[in-house]
Amino acid sequence: MQTDSTELTLLHNRLTSICREMGVAMMKTAYSPVFNEGFDFVCSLFDREGRMIAQAEYNPSMLGAAIYTVEWMLNEIGVECFRQGDVWVHNDPYRGGCHLPEHMLLKPVFHKDELFGFAATIGHIAEIGGKAVGALAGDATEIYQEGLRLPPVKLMDRGEHAMDIWKILMTNHRTPKLTWGDLHAMLGSLHIGESRLIELLEARGLSRTLDETKELMQRAEAWMRREIEAIPDGEYRFEDWMENDGITDEPRRIKVAVSVRGGEIIADFTGTDPQTRGPINATYAVTAAATYNAAFHLTDPQVPRNAGCYRPIKIIAPPGTLVNVQHPAPEIGGNSETHCRIIGVVMGALAQAVPERAAAADGATGCNFLFGGIHPDTGEFYANYHFENVGWGAAANHDGNDAQCAPLAISRNVPVEVFETRYPILVRSLRLLTDSGGAGLFRGGLGTERILEIRAPEMTVSALFDRMRIPPWGLQGGSAGGTTSISIRRAGDSDFRLFTDVFHTVTPSKFSNIIVRQGDLIRIVSSGGGGYGDPFQRPARKVLNDVLDRYVSPQQARNLYGVVLREGEGTLSFDEAPSRTMAGERGAASVNLKA
């Protein structure tokens, strides 16, 4: 059987490589920064029954949802209706999708007139019409306000542009040029995936390849089951909060009981609050994707990623709740903000089973900031979906990383020197925020502060943030990480103030369509990661280094770590003995795992 085993390894590598190549082509040719710098897309291959046979290492939140999206599309369209050269587009969250900006493009792949399967990409189209520029309206109350909704329809019909659909897209999106470029980048990527898959099928034959991919799924499933078997059996509970839904300023609870039984995980979200009027609801696909994401973070990252590795993980999400929203509620924040929180509760639950593999909470928000308007230099409409990096949680043997994309995605930040060529904004600063990492034996990663100066007569802005009041939790006595904020300093003013104060928005974190003007400054603060373990146990030398590099202020070193620093002749030294015995101000919101 060894020959088969080696052949299977080679097949798996080849299929993964095809997906990677699709991704590179997409990234290099797309027009929107969210693609070409942000990697907010996925590339994968499916068999003709809609089972994922391979994917590449792109946006994990979309990867988990894609299996539901494709399943839905095959059911709705009917597998017999796909023709060579067709490409179908689909973005409806209420048809197995994640949220409206995530457009799935699906292209059938044939071998000698027989359908083998599909090349699939999901990409975040940044501007899709709707209530607010950039789609993420923090105060939407129906899905109809969140952008143009597409059921599965043909974008390409036997190789030709299906012009009716293109016309509708180009008319309804505010920045049609970008939509055109991004969709063509996706089409190019699908073409590459299709060509490579056809070559592969010519060499191996269709039925053999189908048999082998089934075997690959079984192997991935078996490996994932072994990974889960290594987690102690039990039921682990956790809960956390979304601080508001943008419509009423009250926290909403997400609750999970994660059962580990042998090689299977069941995540049961019963007890989670009902779905909300505002846009923080998650579809079932989002909740499932977030659950997979959490489970994959706590198991071997090398498990092959095809339909098999998802099978041992089951999700129970009662309809009508925040984690399984029903039409026509808005849900655009479900895939960025609530997705993060679901990852967090599942990881928090499993942390009790495998504390050595767990980490404190990451910043867990996209700090989504949307803006658009007429560019004074070109007279053309521009729009942007901007997000921030957050601090990651500390773990049992290391500090959290500073400023990286929350675990729902792998986006890189857009360089200032790219950003400023596209939008009438001068970036005043982009810094790490001192003291934003949760204190602990291991310190949480730092969040960032970014200040933007508006350089157009007016600009429309919207926000969809969370973690502004309820901070990312620490673990085992570690402090919580810093919270987010978005505030504005009007031209001529001296202070930054929250949008609730200046514009009377209902919440400070979620709003839409606020008009700002030339010379206004907008300050965006992202959250830090939680700390791990008792900060008083952190070696004073490390605290000193953190102070030298201004990751920690001397005040926090004294108050939270009990390390008093003395300034000598151009150097700092520390004196820990007296203060460290004092009970300092301890971090709030720390989660303690059982011994």
Partner: protein, 693 residues
């Protein structure tokens, strides 16, 4: 030519062996040797190896080598303590960075690994200072530079112990005046401090990448200066009167005096030599489509050579730090003789990227226990236990076999099948790497020849060609030391670049022509200051271009003579074609823009001639030295095949595979279905019989 510069010597220092070649410029003939590396004692290694060749040091006119000094200093972080001066508000980008999370153990760590550690900021926060100045796109000064502030911040950093300073200000790619003034002030007011400014080191947009590149360069300036001082002094004391040249990452050699300002250009100077050698071979043979394939102990380095040009990229990293310098586009994968084979938790056989290296080395070297690719080849009879590396290393077949036993138990097969599986997986990994550079970029591998060299290249080349649909393999003379040929035939050359962010439609051809001419003049000046050679400087122009609104560029060669409107149209057409070849579509009605302009300036080198083999009659029988049992495939199993001695082969000899050809520095395995012909220069031309049908 004066007698004291009769030889050009090329030296390639590896982990285990130092390879050396001496080119006699009067006759064009070359001598070469392999000697043990003397770690930390460069000059001793050089002089020993030159002595081995019997070449008097005082007759050596040039010594060329790919220095690993800067690379090692960077990886071991033994570079200078470096301070950074940037625009107010942005120096924290050193911490923030902007990569996807892929510094974990595997590629999937990028999305599912909580515990990977972000690389430390290249310059720590307490060694960074900011200036309250600002240039905005497209070059407008928003806030003027304050020289008093520059003086004050530079002083603070120097007092904090920085011996090098890196300066990178926002938008210096479109307006470099602030950066240049900062440098002028520091140069005039502070002695004994090295300064790099980003507009000189790497004038590319995207500030994080540019600031790190600049800081890396600054941190290496003292390293390079010290290194050159030591080496030159020692070589002079040994009687060397010639010049020392260093290989740059893009495949040209340079005078070290020039590289003192840009030591970063030497970072990938080692691996590129094999590509230069391959390109030289292609020019000699008149072959326009080659794949250079260098398989050593730990890696397989492959590169595509089209139309006698070394492929370049500026997307390089060292230790996860972006290094935006022109670099030969070499794909490196962890597949070499020492690559370790294992069964993963899912039951799949994997080979590499971990390597047993030189120590402990493959199990058959006697110290290691983990099975490697070399162990598999030994068990399959493709390597000889007694003739490995000319008999310098005796291989232990029993040790290789026992290392494979545990692996075969996990796979549920016998040792031979396990060994065959290891070779197949390793070859498939290499084939994937070649596929990424050929098919995936629109090139048909059936039009290429694969040049196999390095210790393991000739052993795997025909298997790799078969797996990649490449019909022809070329095994050059002395394949084990082939890279050194690249050192002596490399051209003295520089690549200049300048930012030019502008839509093609609004480009004034006269101004564009002027920009290129200025870069050519600068390139020529650099060559003249550093060259003892004569000859006409050759220039070649290219540009990084993209469709407006894209963020990533494609480099397009510009060969249209003096640029006019017609020339601009041709450039545009070349870009559309390149985009189509690479990404399968080209929206020709969309506007195109320039991002960066490049000029390569070079001086040719004297030709290299190897002693041609004796003309034979086509019958290789005289060079056969025996037979041994070699594993062919599943159907044939082990078969007794003929073993030939390469040095005794004659021109026009023809041998059908399967066969083995042994020589001092390497072993060539020719698979069944392939046929070897010895060409008039002594290269082994291995062709697939199937492709000729």
């Amino acid at each position: 030519m004066a007698s004291n510069s009769r030889y050009i010597v090329g030296i390639d220092i590896g982990g285990t062996f130092t390879d050396v070649i001496a080119l006699d410029v009067e006759t064009g003939h070359a001598l070469s040797a392999k000697t043990p590396t003397t770690p930390g004692r460069f000059v001793a290694g050089v002089t020993n190896s030159i002595k081995t060749l019997g070449v008097p040091l005082h007759e050596v006119g040039q010594i060329i080598h790919g220095s690993t000094t800067c690379t090692n200093a960077l990886i071991e972080r033994k570079h200078a303590k470096t301070g950074f001066i940037g625009t107010k508000g942005f120096s924290d980008e050193f911490d923030i960075q902007r990569m996807i999370r892929r510094w974990g153990k595997t590629s999937w760590s990028a999305i599912y690994d909580l515990h990977q550690k972000k690389p430390a900021p290249f310059v720590r926060r307490h060694l960074r200072r900011e200036l309250d100045e600002r240039v905005a796109y497209p070059g407008v000064v928003v806030k003027e530079l304050d020289l008093d502030e520059v003086r004050c911040k530079a002083k603070e950093l120097i007092e904090a112990g920085a011996s090098s300073l890196a300066v990178c200000l926002l938008w210096s790619t479109v307006n470099s005046s602030h950066e240049r003034r900062v440098k002028a002030l520091i140069d005039s007011e502070f002695k004994n401090v090295y300064v790099s400014i980003s507009c000189e080191v790497a004038p590319v947009v995207r500030e994080y990448e540019r600031m790190v590149t600049t800081a890396v360069n600054a941190s290496l300036m003292p390293v390079m200066t010290d290194y050159l001082a030591t080496v030159k002094e020692e070589l002079n004391s040994m009687g060397f009167r010639g010049s020392l040249l260093l290989m740059q990452s893009h495949g040209g050699v340079a005078d070290p005096e020039v590289l003192k300002e840009r030591p970063i250009l030497t970072l990938r100077g080692g691996p590129v030599a094999g590509v230069v050698a391959t390109n030289n071979l292609g020019k000699t043979l008149g072959t326009k489509r080659l794949i250079s394939c260098d398989i050593g102990g730990t890696s397989c380095d492959t590169a595509i050579i089209l139309d006698h040009a070394i492929p370049l990229t500026d997307e390089t990293e060292v230790d996860y730090y972006p290094v935006k310098i022109p670099t030969a586009d070499i794909h490196c994968i962890g597949a070499g003789g020492g690559s370790i084979a294992y069964v993963d938790a899912g039951g799949a056989l994997r080979v590499g990227p971990e390597s047993a290296g030189a120590s402990p080395g493959p199990a058959c070297y006697g110290s290691g226990t983990q099975p490697t690719l070399t162990d598999a080849n030994l068990v399959l009879g493709r390597l000889s236990a007694d003739e490995f590396c000319g008999g310098q290393i005796k291989l232990d077949t029993d040790a290789a076999r026992s290392s494979l036993e545990a692996l075969s138990r996990r796979l549920g097969c016998n040792v031979t099948t396990a060994a065959e599986g290891i070779v197949r997986v390793a070859v498939a990994n290499m084939a994937e790497s070649i596929r990424l550079q050929t098919i995936d970029r629109g090139h048909d591998p059936r039009e290429f020849s694969l040049v196999g060299f390095g210790g393991g290249g000739p052993l795997h080349a025909s298997l790799l060609a078969e797996a990649s649909s490449i019909p022809e393999v070329i095994i050059p003379l002395q394949p084990g030391v082939f890279s050194t040929v690249g050192m002596v035939v490399a051209e003295l050359g520089y690549r200049s670049q300048t930012g030019c962010l502008q839509p093609l439609a609004s480009v004034d051809p006269i101004k564009l022509e002027r920009s290129f001419r200025e870069m050519e003049a600068a390139g020529a000046a650099m060559l003249r200051t550093s060259s003892t050679k004569r000859g006409d400087v050759r220039f070649s122009r290219s540009a990084a271009m993209r469709y407006t609104l894209q963020e990533w560029e494609i480099q397009v060669g510009i060969d249209v003579g003096r640029i006019d409107h017609h020339g601009l149209e041709k450039i545009k057409a070349a870009f559309h074609a390149a985009h189509r070849a690479r990404y399968a579509f080209a929206p020709e009605d969309k506007p195109v823009e320039f991002v960066t302009l490049y000029v390569d300036s070079s001086l040719p080198t004297p030709p290299l001639r190897h002693e041609p083999p004796v003309q034979g009659d086509g019958d290789p029988a005289g060079s056969q030295k025996g037979t041994r049992a070699v594993y062919i495939d599943e159907r044939m199993g082990f078969v007794d095949v003929s073993i030939y001695d390469r040095v005794r082969l004659e021109a026009d000899d023809v041998i059908n595979g399967p066969c083995i050809i042994e020589e001092l520095t390497s072993t060539t395995f020719v698979q069944k279905g392939w046929q070897v012909t010895v060409d008039p220069m002594g290269n082994l031309i291995v062709r697939s019989l199937e492709s000729e049908r």
